[in-house]
Structures are given as structure tokens and as C-alpha cells.
Amino acid sequence: MIDKRVASLADAVEGVADGAIVLVGGFGAAGVPVELVHALLEQGARDLTIVTNNAGAGETDVAALIREGRVRKIICSYPRSAGSIWFEEFYRAGNIELELVPQGTLSERMRAAGAGLGGFFTPAGADSLLSRGKEIRVIAGRRHVFEEPLQGDVALVKAERADRWGNLVYNKAARNFGPTMATAATLSVVQVREFVELGDLDPEAVVTPGIFVDRVVEVAG
């Protein structure tokens, strides 16, 4: 019997270790697993590497993790959003490490991890400072940079509905990084607005098959 549903947010993030690489979904405010991130804050893991598109804004979710000194390093594409005050403060003080990655490369590196690939060549960023120190190869007359897979220990993802097998569907543009992050972490944890019965999701329209999901928790709203 497969039942990936857990009863509480605390159960959902149980066991995340100090030093973990944590993939956090969301683009802007859409698809951010706010409650899971707050549960991680409660849970207490430290020295984290956070992989996420933005660096948090205001006082919630990733910004709160940074404020509380839990984040050693952030791997992201766009840490300069309006309201990213905690990231900026820690960054200027040299208290957080930043690895800046072009957004498509960020997503593709996680996919490579999920897909069992050893890395890939991309033209994105190959002419830029962001390829410094990396292997450059001219392929079909064009510069490409070699990028490595990016595997997480934990993924925190927000979806719309899940069944007990962990099959997921998302809502509109809140889908963003979720499906890829779920494939790329050893432990994939998902908050959903609603649990549904097994068989209620259209098999043609499941976005994340349950094989990529380990725990699901229901968070209304």
C-alpha cells in the first residue's frame, strides 16, 4: 500500500539535515511552498544551500530562512527582486554565498540530475562572465559552456492536487519549477491545496507522476 500523504507540515520536513541542499519552487510569489519553508524554519536545519529562482522578498519563506541565518549559500538566477532586503543585507556583509546561474541553465541542471545525465553543453551564458572557469566548447560553430547536474537533498514544491500515490497537478503559472525540482531531489516534499482520491486525476493530465514524490501534505488556501 502506497500512501505518501503525511498529517502535518512538521512530518513533511522531518529529517532534513544540517548542510542539506534544498530546492525551493516558485517564481515570484507563484508556486512558492511558503508553509513548507516555514516548517523548515521551525524544524531548525542550518547551513543550508537553497536553490530557487529568486532570493525571497519581505519577511516570509526564503527571506525568513536567510534572516535567521540558516542559509550558507544560495543558487539562483535573480536575487535582486523588489523587497529582497534580507538577501541583500547578508550578501553585502559577506554572510551568504551566491552562485548565479542563468534561469534556463538552473532549471536544466536540475533536470539533468533528475534524468541521470552527467551534464550538458548550453550556449546560454557561454559568452559571459558566468562561464568563467567552466569548460567551453565550440559546437556547430557556436560557443557552449559545460554545465553540471544540480541534485538536491530535498525539494519543497507547491502543487494544487495530489492523490495518495503522489501524482500531482498544478495551478496555472504556479507550476514553474515544481515538476523539475520534484525529479531532482532525494526527498521530494509537496504541499497541495487538496488531496483527491486515487483515480480522480485524469491520467492524461498528471503533470508530476507520483514516482517523483515522497511526501505530500495538505495546506488549505
Binding site: 517564481f27 515570484g28 510569489a29 507563484a30 508556486g31 532570493a55 538566477s77 535573480y78 536575487p79 535582486r80 527582486s81 538577501f87 541583500e88 550578501y91 551566491l98 548565479l100 546561474v101 542563468p102 534561469q103 534556463g104 541553465t105 532549471s107 536544466e108 536540475m110 533536470r111 548550453t122 550556449p123 546560454a124 551564458g125 557561454a126 559568452d127 559571459s128 562572465l129 558566468l130 560557443r143 498544478y170 495551478n171 496555472k172 503559472a173 504556479a174 507550476r175 514553474n176 519549477f177 515544481g178 515538476p179 523539475t180 503533470v207
Partner: protein
């Protein structure tokens, strides 16, 4: 200079003229988003947003915002009939894989070889941020730049070499400013159209690379909007 430069709205409208019916288009954040407001008269254009939307429509009416339906600039949008959703990795397949017909981007600098600098300045005070700019610049079939001709303090943004860090080398096809429409090709910058009343010398003064001129240089006339 007594000439009247184009307004932002006119600049956007001029870009929109060059986008063929049926195109898949990605608009960068900032001024390029204005192109979306003026492009649709008679044409069916499909707008792509890097966060997983193909075919988004205009902003919703106030009070109707859905914060899980936003564009790359994190502003609420709507979904056009025929639009659909997909995940980020698939979205960047479209961008990097040559499936987007046209992208309109802002820029800090463009070189006469078409090098694009639009992600970082020499201001070390700010943390660097890149977003999807590099993927889009290398992947779109046609890269159009929409920007002011000079910086607010009057320094040229069209250069022989970019001084700011590159986004991508040799990718820009055409630049639209408040003063001119300029092609970027093997011959460097070639002016196609200029705003009414501006002389070639005046435009060259504001440009830090030699300008060529088309056989027939068209005239840009402000609409008054």
C-alpha cells in the same frame, strides 16, 4: 537638438510594426512590455512568458488579479483563448531551442557586432542578477532591442565594444531608440529610420560607433501620444 524624440508608446508601436502576424514573441521586462499593448491590431501574436505560459493576454481588471497567473515581471496577466501552461524547463526549451520567433529586450549597451549587455553594469554595489536574459538572447530567432539611445547622463549605449559584461555575443538584429531604427549586421550599425528633423551628424554624435545609412532612410514621426 530641437527635434521631438519618439515617446515610449511610439517606440513600442514602431517595434510592433515589425512583428509578423502569427509570431511567437517574448517581451523582456521594462519598456518591452509596452509592445504587448500595441501589437494586436489585426495580428494574432502569441506571447510567451518564461515562467510557463504561452498565449497570455492583457492585465486583468482591477480586483480580478490571480497571483498564480503572472508574467516574467511578476505582474498579473490573463490567459488568451488557445493559451496553455507548462513547466520551467519546457519553457526554456522554447527560448533556448530557437522556437521563439522574436524577442524584444531592453539593454544597457549594444555593440556594432550585435553584442548585448543587459544584465550587469559595473556597479559592484548591487548583487548580480541574470534571470532568463542569456537563454533568450542566444535562443530567439530574432533579437530586437528597445532602449533609449543614450544613458540619462548622455553617454552612448551603441558602442564599438560593450564595456559592461556581455549577456551574449553577436545576437542583436535591430535596435529601436527614441531617435532611430538601426540594423545590426556584418557592416555594423546601419540606420534604417530616423526621427523627423534629426541630422545624421547629430545621431552620430550620440553614438559611439560609426553609423552607416540605408539608401533610403525613413522618417519617424511622433504621434503625440
Amino acid at each position: 537638438m530641437t527635434v521631438a524624440p519618439l515617446s515610449h508608446a511610439d517606440m513600442a508601436a514602431r517595434v510592433a510594426q515589425d512583428i509578423p502576424d502569427g509570431s511567437y514573441v517574448n517581451l523582456g521586462i521594462g519598456m518591452p512590455t509596452l509592445v504587448g499593448d500595441v501589437v494586436s491590431d489585426g495580428k494574432e501574436i502569441v506571447f510567451h512568458s518564461e515562467n510557463g505560459i504561452l498565449g497570455f493576454g492583457p492585465a486583468p481588471a482591477p480586483g480580478e488579479e490571480d497571483w498564480e497567473l503572472i508574467n516574467a515581471g511578476k505582474q498579473p496577466v490573463t490567459l488568451a483563448t488557445g493559451g496553455c501552461y507548462f513547466h520551467h524547463t519546457d519553457s526554456f526549451m522554447m527560448m533556448r531551442g530557437g522556437h521563439i520567433d522574436v524577442t524584444v529586450l531592453g539593454a544597457f549597451q549594444v555593440s556594432e557586432r550585435g553584442d548585448l549587455a543587459n544584465w550587469a553594469t559595473d556597479d559592484a554595489h548591487l548583487p548580480p542578477a541574470v534571470g532568463g536574459a542569456m537563454d533568450l538572447a542566444v535562443g530567439a530567432k530574432r533579437v530586437l532591442v528597445l532602449m533609449m539611445h543614450t544613458t540619462p547622463d548622455g553617454r552612448p549605449k551603441l558602442l564599438q565594444e560593450c564595456s559592461y559584461p556581455l549577456t551574449a555575443a553577436a545576437v542583436v538584429h535591430r535596435v529601436y531608440t527614441e531617435l532611430a531604427v538601426i540594423d545590426v549586421g556584418p557592416a555594423g550599425f546601419v540606420v534604417r529610420e530616423m526621427v523627423a528633423g534629426l541630422s545624421r551628424e547629430e545621431l552620430q554624435q550620440r553614438t559611439a560607433a560609426p553609423l552607416g545609412f540605408a539608401d533610403e532612410v525613413g522618417v519617424l514621426v511622433p504621434s503625440g501620444r
